[in-house]
């Protein structure tokens, strides 16, 4: 009995600790088990891994979009470049009917004279301006991509000539940066001040608060907050340091979870730099041809010199190997404007059937005096009197002629005496009555049967006066 009582006392002494131990053990087991199986944000490595992998796929999405956009844009940018005479901004400040001028006329305010000014694009100009158009085109694509923020005006270009085409390398100057997964902010319905430390960990040190699934939700953003969209969701972007966030160091170092370089490398079959240079050299060739023609006079009667000098057949020789083209001529006071419109059939866009139209213009200043006028070396006698006649001037834009006389052979255009000016036809009736000839200080009439030297000076519509003469001795 005493033995049993001793044993039972021991059992009694063990009973409570055992029971309490079981209870505590069970509780500890339950808490530990629950803790181990509950996913915690950062502690749950599997979740973090999945999040990371998902971000990698988001990167691929962004890069694919940028690459695909570049693939289309490298072709699309060629169209506006060609239509605007290979310039983004008009360097000659002479846009006429939508054509950029490669040669323009300026009024020199000091001398009050019109002067020529050339703005032919160089190879470098073509490259630089293409880069502007390409960036513009890419900006349009990136603006419509609401999934993420792809930086705009982001590319410097490197061109590499290939055997059959051109390789364009777009070197991104800024990276695509993505903020942390916005899920953590989705619990908030209305924008509020940051409450948790993690609210500071967002893009570029800003707090992004989810306000809705549509852009219209931006209206919910408070005064100082800007709104941005991210994966079709609207977020109010606020500066945490100005909004009561106490974790400034974290705000400063938070720069997003990834940054990728959206550079691209695309080869196209059309080497527009080389092709466009051909247009420039052809235009220069045309300018030379037209200028020479204007200097000599077109030799075509009753026509405009420009019309004659820029004769389609003439110009065809200069641009015949450049495909279909159209030349539109416009005239303006003291100048000529030639507008060229060429369709380049060698350009093939795999994504569009739109034809490549190259447009540019040349404006010529009519600074060319009419060539000398040749008098017919025979007096024509008619019933009403004797006539001096001359050949029509080669400059077809001649407005009028002046006839001069001198007893001795004139060497320069200023040595003769003006008999009559403003003659619009090509003959002059010899005047024996009026004292029209200056001899020394006196004036006298022309004497019948005497020999005189006559010459003609032509004036054109722009006021240019012939600088050379062909004097002819006639007995009247």
């Amino acid at each position: 009995m005493s033995m049993l009582a001793r044993i039972n006392k021991k059992a009694m002494a063990l009973y409570y600790p055992v029971m309490w131990g079981l209870l505590v053990g069970l509780s500890a087991f339950w808490v530990l088990n629950a803790y181990q199986n509950t996913p915690k944000n950062i502690e749950f490595i599997g979740q973090v891994f999945l999040d990371s992998y998902k971000e990698v796929q988001n990167v691929l999405d962004d890069l694919d979009y940028a690459q695909q956009s570049a693939k289309y844009s490298v072709y699309n940018a060629i169209y506006p470049l060609a239509k605007r005479g290979f310039y983004f901004k008009d360097p000659c400040q002479a846009n006429e009917m939508g054509y950029i001028m490669w040669k323009n006329i300026f009024l020199n305010l000091q001398t009050q004279e019109n002067v020529d000014y050339s703005c032919y694009p160089t190879k470098e100009d073509i490259k630089v301006n293409y880069a502007i158009f390409l960036n513009e085109e890419l900006n349009r694509y990136f603006k419509s991509y609401t999934y993420n923020l792809i930086p705009e005006n982001n590319y410097d270009l490197i061109f590499d000539k290939k055997e059959k085409g051109l390789e364009i390398k777009g070197v991104a100057t800024q990276k695509i940066r993505t903020p942390p997964n916005p899920v953590q902010y989705k619990q908030k319905i209305m924008p509020t001040l940051p409450e948790k430390e993690q609210d500071c960990l967002s893009k570029e040190g800003h707090v992004s608060i989810f306000v809705g699934n549509i852009l219209g939700a931006c209206e919910k953003c408070p005064g100082k907050a800007s709104c941005e969209s991210y994966r079709n969701e609207a977020y109010c972007k606020m500066d945490p340091c100005n909004l009561g966030c106490k974790w400034e160091d974290k705000c400063k170092r938070a720069n997003g979870v990834y940054a990728v370089d959206p550079s691209f490398e695309i080869e196209i079959s059309y080497n527009f730099i080389y092709e466009f240079e051909k247009y420039v050299s052809k235009a220069k060739e045309m300018e030379d041809k037209i200028t020479n023609c204007l200097r000599k006079g077109s030799g075509k009667p009753y026509d405009d010199d420009l019309t004659a000098c820029s004769d389609i057949d003439n110009l065809k020789k200069a641009i015949e190997d450049l495909g279909d083209y159209e030349i539109i001529q416009t005239t303006s006071l003291k100048g000529y404007t030639l507008l060229f419109k060429t369709e380049d059939n060698s350009f093939k866009n795999p994504y569009s059937e739109e034809k490549l139209i190259i447009k540019y213009g040349l404006k010529f200043l009519d600074k060319f005096p009419p060539p000398p006028t040749e008098i017919i070396a025979k007096i024509e006698e008619r019933e009403d009197g004797k006539y001096i006649r001359w050949k029509i001037n080669n400059a077809s834009d001649v407005a009028a002629y002046s006839i001069y006389v001198r007893s001795l052979e004139p060497k320069t255009i200023d040595e003769g005496n003006l008999l009559q000016e403003g003659i619009t036809n090509t003959e002059w009736k010899v005047d024996y009555i009026n004292e029209i000839m200056e001899v020394g200080d006196k004036k006298q009439a022309l004497q019948e049967g005497e020999e005189y030297w006559f010459y003609i000076i032509a004036y054109d519509n722009a006021g240019n006066k012939a600088e050379e003469i062909i004097p002819v001795q006639l007995t009247i």
């Binding site: 087991f29 088990n33 739109e354």
Partner: protein
């Protein structure tokens, strides 16, 4: 209660509640364990869905690069989508390719399947829906969205929405 400690017979009288108490603890542990197993199962399904989603997105990205022969030309599915949008042609081939792709995607549970909706943005106008699995009600679980730019129309783009319909 303390009979067990007082005399020998008490062992048999009090042993039963003691065993019962211990049994209750054991049952409780089992219940907790089963509960945890269910939690684990839920987490596993969740992870499976996410893994399926990741794999599906990878397959979708690969699918867009896949070459198909159209009018004796090898073009990518991306280009085929663009041709379909602009010319409303080759729908049969496109749908067939999408269906094959949807069938090849991993499914987290047996009663699940992937569907693809294609929209034009920003109008959000559906241009093609390919449904491989549909159950009554709304059981959408995982959704993957990819955008494709449109040539000659930078203001618009194509949104592909691949989503898992699942009774899980």
């Amino acid at each position: 209660m303390y009979k067990i400690f007082r005399y020998k017979k008490g062992i048999t009288e009090d042993l039963v509640p003691l065993i019962l108490t211990i049994s209750i603890f054991i049952v409780a542990i089992l219940v907790f364990h089963i509960n945890n197993l269910n939690k684990k199962k839920e987490i596993n399904i969740d992870i499976k869905e996410r893994v399926s989603s990741i794999k599906a997105e990878q397959k979708l990205l690969d699918f867009l690069e896949k070459k198909v022969e159209i009018d004796k030309k090898n073009i990518s599915i991306t280009d085929l989508l663009i041709v379909y949008y602009y010319e409303k042609s080759h729908e049969g081939i496109l749908v067939k390719e999408i269906e094959d792709m949807l069938d090849s995607l991993p499914k987290p549970v047996a009663a699940s399947g992937w569907n693809l909706n294609i929209y034009i943005m920003p109008e959000d106008e559906a241009i093609l829906d390919v449904v491989s699995y549909d159950v009554l009600g709304w059981f959408k679980k995982e959704s993957i969205t990819t955008y494709l730019p449109l040539p000659n129309n930078p203001e618009k783009n194509i949104r592909l929405n691949l989503w898992l319909e699942c009774q899980c």
